[in-house]
Subunit: 155 residues, 2 copies
DNA sequence: CCAAATGGTTTTATGATGCAACCACACATC
DNA sequence: GATGTGTGGTTGCATCATAAAACCATTTGG
């Protein structure tokens, strides 16, 4: 067994997320889905990716509850792939990736889009991490704590 | 050329970020580095990953300016890998991944850690995306806008 | 100087990915 | 209802990336 090591069952939530969406194309498919793409062919032509891989990824995301298949929408009998709440919940991850590129990419001039507030058309702020009481936190202000084990009835 | 398609040169900042840190182990290495790990052996034993892959990843991250090698720190003549500001800038991405797992994972009880505010020991809030004027934004409140092309002297 | 630990590189096997060709079904046309 | 076209995939095959283990060089410790 030399398979790509799986992070399934790992206690770290980051590893668990990567297990779900860490594949090469997955987040880009999500990006397009958030944009409104729904059909197999739309994803394929927009992303230019191999169709077999797209097929596998879509099925995997459906299995994980990130996407679900909807019977139709424009009348045709084909199916569509739409984001579930779990899928839409990936939005902050995409924003974080985008902002990191915007801030640190070596050639930021090649980035041609900006994420703006729809109401005002103005760029959004950077993602903010805050404490319960509202203080802005950066990494050194945080730490990891063991979660108290949930009560179990028996050993 | 059947190589894994590279997103390099893609105008999408998400694709660019994935090109940099979308590899299987990269973000977990960053996670450990944020935790304070510095040495090759520390990463290897903590993550349990193959040493050749670790070697390639570390070199790649150094090349990209995410890590840098420091000559020593505990006196020994070995080198260490420490995060640059660009590397520390990945923190929000890790937080976003963590929070997504916490919220949507099918077995959240297996997640044993929580990210807390160091000062109070209380869990942090969810990442917030805000408009310039401070309004909280969710995905439908946002849109992508073409960035005005930066002025070029000649065609 | 010898032994063991550290920090890797090389070798080899296998899984993942990409590309192209193929197939099945839906839908439109006659 | 036979024919043709587009959508939505699956199947082979070639190549790349990854994993595991063996190997090597340097450092540290005795």
């Amino acid at each position: 067994m030399v398979k790509r090591t799986s992070f399934e069952g790992d206690a770290c939530p980051i590893a668990r997320a990567l297990e779900a969406i860490g594949d090469w194309w997955t987040l880009l498919i999500i990006r397009e889905a958030l944009f409104g793409l729904r059909r197999f062919g739309e994803f394929q032509s927009k992303l230019g990716m191999a169709r077999n891989i797209l097929s596998v990824r879509l099925r995997s995301m459906v299995d994980q509850g990130i996407l679900e298949t909807a019977p139709a929408s424009d009348g045709s009998a084909y199916q569509e792939y739409v984001l579930t709440p779990k899928g839409r919940g990936l939005f902050p991850i995409l924003v974080a990736l985008r902002q990191w590129s915007e801030e640190f990419d070596d050639h930021p001039e090649e980035i041609t889009t900006i994420l703006v507030d729809r109401a005002k058309g103005r760029p959004v702020r950077k993602l903010e991490l805050r404490a319960e009481d509202g203080r802005l936190l950066s990494q050194p202000d945080t730490m990891l704590k063991l979660r108290p084990a949930p009560r179990r009835r028996s050993a």
